[in-house]
């Protein structure tokens, strides 16, 4: 247990090792560790932010869905209104068309009746002439008695 110059040599060695650690060992590793801590903190913050954004997005999407439903309901209501309107219009148009067709048919029937009556009248006149001819036993000249025949025809 003798104190000698070794003490100073060891103190010097100690000083050099401290200097070395302070200068070359500690700072780079602390930098690396701090960078990693920052990266991890950033990652956690980003995760938190992502979660919040997801929440907001889900709120927003719920709103959008609600709006879309409302719009769809509106569209359907409008469409129903329009459909009933179209049906009403179609009914009116059909009524008009029916009436027109009915009127045409009536006119046609009347015309047909008229024509039939004319034909009938002709036949009756012919029959009457033939009957008269038979009664008179002589040939009646159609041309001579045209006026007579015409008057009979008119009376029928």
């Amino acid at each position: 247990m003798n104190i000698n110059f070794t003490l100073f040599a060891q103190a010097m060695t100690f000083a050099i090792f401290i200097w070395f650690t302070v200068k070359f060992v500690w700072p780079p590793l602390m930098r690396a560790i701090e960078n990693r801590q920052k990266t991890i903190a950033d990652g956690l913050a980003a995760g938190e932010r992502g979660k919040r954004e997801l929440e907001l997005a889900s709120h927003r999407s719920a709103d959008v869905v609600k709006d879309a439903k409302q719009q769809a309901a509106d569209v359907i209501a409008q469409a129903e209104k329009r459909a009933s309107q179209i049906i009403e219009e179609a009914k009116v148009a059909a009524q008009d068309e029916g009436n027109r067709i009915l009127t045409g048919a009536k006119a046609e029937v009347e015309q047909e009746v008229f024509r039939a009556r004319e034909t009938l009248r002709q036949h009756v006149a012919d029959l009457a002439v033939a009957g008269a001819a038979k009664i008179l036993h002589r040939e009646v000249d159609a041309k001579t008695h045209a006026d007579l025949l015409a008057s009979i025809k008119a009376e029928l």
Partner: protein, 268 residues
């Protein structure tokens, strides 16, 4: 083993406890313990070289196993310093604590090397007296403790100013009253003397005693086969227990260093 002369317990012990000396000047003071110096420098170069090598390639991404190990050690030290020292610890105190812990731990761990096998190993290189454990040399522990003591005074002056420090020496811990000045000075004197003494002698005593016990256990080998086996068992037991002492003493030495340096930074 000491060759030639008859081997007695005394010569055995003396052989293992004698430093290899080299004279650098006139007088007993101007001698160097070459083994102490060489072992401590070698261990320092290996451990701090390793740290430097790992730290140079340190990534802030996912660390490898080697880097994770170094980070574990450094963050352990950093945590200890953080809980004691409230200042910019990265500037000096924390790396200094790392230096103390790693270096003292490495030097203490040399105590676990099997003394007689190592003696045979050194003999190959013609080194008859060669002690492996630098912390069993009081010069080493005093060098460390006195360096810390000087740093303590340096930081006292740096943080509080020369006048502030003297004021603290004179006026604390008992009070500003001039009547109390001598008591304060005496108290602080005792404190400033006892700090490096207890700091260095605690480490020296523990490790030196550990080595002595290893030597005593080693002497069982001189009593025959049964004694050798018994000595082996005892040696294993003591070595396992000594792992705790080695680590604990390194840790205590580091913590005291940190505490002394933080006390130097704080005003009373």
């Amino acid at each position: 083993m000491a060759s030639g002369t008859e081997l007695t317990p005394t010569s055995y012990m003396a052989h293992h406890l004698t430093n290899l000396t080299s004279s650098v000047g006139e007088g007993a003071f101007w001698t160097l313990h070459v083994d102490t110096l060489a072992m401590s420098i070698l261990l320092g170069v290996i451990s701090f070289g390793f740290l430097w090598w790992v730290v140079r390639g340190a990534t802030s991404g996912v660390p490898g196993k080697r880097q994770a190990f170094v980070e574990l050690a450094i963050e352990f030290i950093d945590e200890q310093v953080k809980s004691t020292f409230h200042g910019d610890r990265h500037a000096f105190v924390a790396p200094a604590a790392l230096t103390v812990f790693v270096w003292v731990l490495m030097m203490n761990t040399m105590d676990l090397l099997p003394i007689d096998i190592m003696a045979g190993f050194y003999e190959v290189f013609g080194l008859h007296n060669w002690r492996s454990v630098p912390t069993t040399d009081i010069n080493t522990t005093f060098a460390l403790a006195l360096s810390v003591w000087l740093l303590m005074i340096f930081f006292n002056v740096k943080v509080k100013g020369l006048f502030g420090w003297i004021h603290e020496l004179v006026c604390t811990p008992f009070g500003k009253n001039p009547l109390l000045w001598p008591v304060n000075i005496l108290f602080n004197l005792v404190e400033y003397v006892s700090k490096p003494l207890s700091h260095s002698l605690r480490l020296y005593g523990n490790i030196y005693a550990g080595e002595i016990i290893f030597l005593l256990i080693g002497m069982w080998a001189a009593t025959g086969l049964v004694g050798t086996l018994f000595g082996t068992l005892l040696g294993v037991g003591w070595a396992i227990f000594h792992i705790l002492i080695v680590t604990l003493q390194a840790f205590i030495f580091m913590m005291l260093t940190v505490v002394y340096l933080s006390m130097a930074h704080e005003s009373h």
